[in-house]
């Protein structure tokens, strides 16, 4: 068996659940998460990377998950056209219960637009800086900032004040002059 394939199989054997969980966080849909992980594996192992271990490969696969997700969003709208097919269609009898359920972070993430969601995950899950996120997603740093701000704003509406929003946002942008002030005055 080729070395790359052994590496890939070890990665999937050991980290399948974590990769699927990460992909789910990025896209909010289990079926799409499965596709994202597989596409990311293909992207990662399609290029010769001598000496790539399973542990190191995981980082590449995670990056590929977000870029695949954003590429898919950016380059076609097919998913949008069929997205409703993957959403439960049953009526939710408890109107207020539905609102409360939306307070969970996964549900709150689901309310974010794809690019905003990706920025939030890369910033607060992967702890990338704004420039790194911009490079990862192929968008301008200013756009990343706007997405993060929008995303945090919406998440705070659902989850309440976020403890690490201030610190992370400040760290995310290495330009101190642009740092927002503390926002815990709610």
């Amino acid at each position: 068996m080729a070395e790359w394939r052994e590496t890939m199989e070890q990665l999937v054997r050991d980290r399948e659940r974590a990769l699927l969980g990460y992909a789910y966080l990025v896209c909010g849909n289990a079926t799409q998460a499965q596709d994202l992980v597989q596409d990311a594996l293909v992207r990662t192992f399609s290029r010769p990377r001598p000496g790539l271990s399973a542990v190191k490969a995981e980082g590449y696969v995670r990056r590929a998950i977000t870029s695949t997700y954003i590429d898919g969003y950016r380059r076609d709208q097919r998913w949008k056209r069929v997205q409703h097919l993957f959403q439960p269609g049953e009526f939710v009898p408890d109107e207020f219960g539905a609102v409360e359920a939306g307070s969970d972070v996964a549900d709150a993430l689901a309310g974010l637009p794809p690019r905003v969601r990706a920025c939030v995950v890369l910033r607060f899950f992967d702890d990338l800086t704004v420039p790194q996120i911009g490079r990862q997603l192929g968008i301008a740093p200013g756009t990343v900032k706007r997405y993060l701000s929008d995303g945090l704003g919406q998440l705070e509406l659902a989850l309440g004040p976020l403890d690490d929003a201030d610190v992370s946002m400040a760290d995310a942008d290495h330009t101190a002059a642009n740092r927002p002030q503390e926002r815990n005055d709610r």
Partner: protein
Amino acid sequence: MTKLSDALRGAADRAPVGELSVSTDVAARRVTRQRGLRGAANGLVGIGAVTVLAVGIIAPTFGDVGAEDAGADRAQAESGGGDGAAGFAEDSAESTMINSCGAFRDVTGWGDSTVDLDTRIEGVDPDAGEITEFEGGQSIDLDVIITALEDVDLSTSGPQVSILWEGMLVGEFLISDTALDQAVLDQGSDLVNETQVSLSNCWDGEPLPAGTYELVVAQHFYPTADADSPSAAPLPEPSAVPGFDPDAPVSSGDGAVDDPAVSGPADGEAIEPMPEPLPAPPMNDFQVVAPSVPLVIAGDVPEDPFGEYLPQPVELPDNYLTPQVARDLYQESVTTDAWDMAEGTQRWVLQSSAGEEYTEEAWLRGFYGCPYDGTQGVDFPAESSRMDLFEVDATIPGGISVSYGWVVDDNPRVDLTVTNTSDYALPGFYGQPSAELYLVRDGRVVAEGYPSQLRPYINDEILAGDGDGAIEPYVIDLGLLESGASLQGEYLWRDVSGCWSESGGQRPLEAGTYTLLTAQGIYVTDGVEYGYTEDAEAQARMTEDAGASEGGMDTMIAPAPVQSDYVELRAWTSLGEVNVTTSNAP
């Protein structure tokens, strides 16, 4: 107070993916195809002025079978076993979805090539000027000739043969052999791969129909790893994640408690900013493309030889709103007059449009809302349009009571209805209208609210009306809101978020009367259906050359064809005034 990073990691742990799995077999087949590492083994003869290295029968890639699997599958098929036949059919069906048949591929070389590539079809004399006709399904003998432009020691993943019909990929073959993964040549010497290529399509392996095709061979080379070679520089490590130690032992697979990648820093522990990724290593690899060779298959040329394999175009209604029509409508009613935001009035803002030059500040042109950094307020865009595509009706409370950003004393109900008042079918309406509320004072947004949906999935709740302005069903598959149709949403207004100020952080909402706006975005495309090609090496190179892949991934999947036209618009509607009372006492 919630810590978002921890919450996200917890959410990843709790993701409902327990029943899912990732097929490494399928992934491996796709990888194999990308790498071109498939085929029968052949012997190494040697290196000389002309060296024949390999003779192999190259099968079309519709199987996408890995090197190890290929032999097994072939053995099964040859033995007549039912399993082999079933496996073949399964692979064929799969490749229809994932391979690049039908893509419009521009096979290009890149990098600083140190070899030339040429192809020769046996029985065809390129200098004779005669047309040699072949039969569909026939195997042709093909020589792929590598000529060293200097002394080289290269690794290669094998030549990739593409058969194009009017620019569309209809046949694809990967010639590979682990015994051929190196090309050590003196300047001026040649290396010849003798192969056979079956003139079959890459969807299901059926013989190519009569017609004129183009055969193109490309091959990717990279320097053989050498400790002294710049190419042996370590590849950039993936960016680390907090608490992620690449050398730490990995967990046993549940990805939960002992998952180093999802373990955040302890509470109160500062989050270390990420180091900049290592610079990308020097890229000395290159791809070289041989001159294309015309290929004629005899017989009557069918009218649409590959139509059955191609995705059918999206069937758009005659009254579909196209991007160009949307732009025209916008321009017909464009104005630079200030918007007085009187109740019931509406203004459209052009957010983006195909063909516009991208700049970092471009989004500011159409932006209205709370600015990110709070450095300044933003006035309503100077240019807007009074175009009439849909109207927004809303039931809103006359007043709300706000305490520390939360709407207290009952969460008022907000109902929104978007009605298509145009003659066009408007795309992109899924589920419910967008519930974005903006509180405006002195022409500037001072706070935003995003009411919570009462029924998050309302698709099944769209009811057919019985006339008299009742809500009509909309076409769900394209998200079309037909002319005269409506889309309704019900929400609870639970909170309101003040904009930021440069010095004071997030501004609390002051008591008083505000103009309440709502915004609906519309993204209009020309309905082009998209397909993927998994080639895109050239694009990957472009991305890398631009320094966009530092420490990250290479772009390996590109769309084909590219999207041709779009326009993004945003409609702002004034819902009148809302009175805000505040109570910031606990």
